[in-house]
């Protein structure tokens, strides 16, 4: 008896892996790129643990100053010595005056010295900022962080 399987060629479905590998690599590149952009847009800080206020939520905060725990300052994502901050803000006001139509946003570490915060506020006031918004972390409320 001759079985049909003996002479039958086993059919193999040709599966082309190339498109799948292409997509995986494209995804990888995309996520690597976007992760870098997200990191540079917002400095990681230990913000004060507060609930925040309702009226401060509107607006996007065109001028953002980050104040780190050691007193160093970043204008947006750019390191900025305190002594140059006033000039940088003045230049920005000339280039983009609409940025100062909203209250400036200060993201200050909870352990940063108030002296550095005062210097930032003075610089913002000198540049014509109409108000301030201080970034806080509502998730930390109740954790015993507040003085």
């Amino acid at each position: 008896m001759r079985f049909a399987a003996a002479g039958r060629r086993e059919r193999l479905l040709p599966l082309d892996m190339t498109p799948m590998i292409d997509i995986v690599f494209q995804l990888l590149i995309f996520f690597l790129t976007t992760t870098q952009l997200v990191r540079t847009a917002r400095e990681v800080l230990s913000l004060p643990a507060e609930a925040g206020s309702e009226e401060a939520r509107s607006g996007s905060g065109a001028v953002t100053v980050n104040l780190l725990a050691d007193g160093s300052v970043l204008l947006g994502d750019r390191p900025m010595p305190l002594e140059h901050l006033s000039a940088a803000l003045a230049a920005r006001r000339i280039d983009r005056p609409a940025d100062f139509d909203e209250a400036a946003l200060i993201r200050a570490d909870r352990e940063a010295p108030a002296a550095a915060l005062n210097a930032v506020v003075r610089s913002l006031r000198g540049a014509g900022a109409v108000g301030l918004r201080l970034a806080v972390d509502p998730a930390g409320v109740g954790a015993g962080d507040t003085p």
Binding site: V38, R57, A114, A115, A119, V121, G131, P147
Partner: protein, 116 residues
């Protein structure tokens, strides 16, 4: 396709954990006109530090406890402008605590004044 789906899922889980939500505390800048234009005399709250402990001076009263500060601020008329004078020394957390207490007390006008 399954691998790509799990990769997407892991990515969004991780980024959702990293991106902590933030809130904002509003404060006016002295010199902006609003506090000077108010009909009521501004109340002065000074923040400094004594032996490493943040200290609040509300008028003539010295306060170390935040709860007491909040209760004193709640006694003020909401239309009363509050001028927060920040001296060098205390951490930023003490400043935001004062502003938050003022907002929680319903004070409408809170201005930040950098002190020397």
């Amino acid at each position: 396709m399954l691998d790509a789906t799990f990769l997407l899922l892991a990515y969004f889980l991780v980024t959702a954990a990293i991106d902590r939500p933030e809130e904002r505390l509003a404060a006016g800048l002295l010199g902006g006109g609003r506090i000077e234009a108010a009909n009521l005399e501004p109340v002065r709250l000074e923040i400094d530090e004594a032996d490493g402990v943040p200290r609040y001076r509300l008028g003539a009263r010295v306060i170390f406890d935040r709860a007491e500060l909040a209760s004193r601020l709640a006694l003020l008329d909401p239309a009363t402008p509050l001028r927060i004078v920040v001296r060098p020394g205390p951490p930023v957390a003490a400043v935001t605590a004062a502003i938050q207490s003022a907002r929680d007390a319903g004070l409408e006008t809170v201005a930040y004044e950098p002190g020397g």
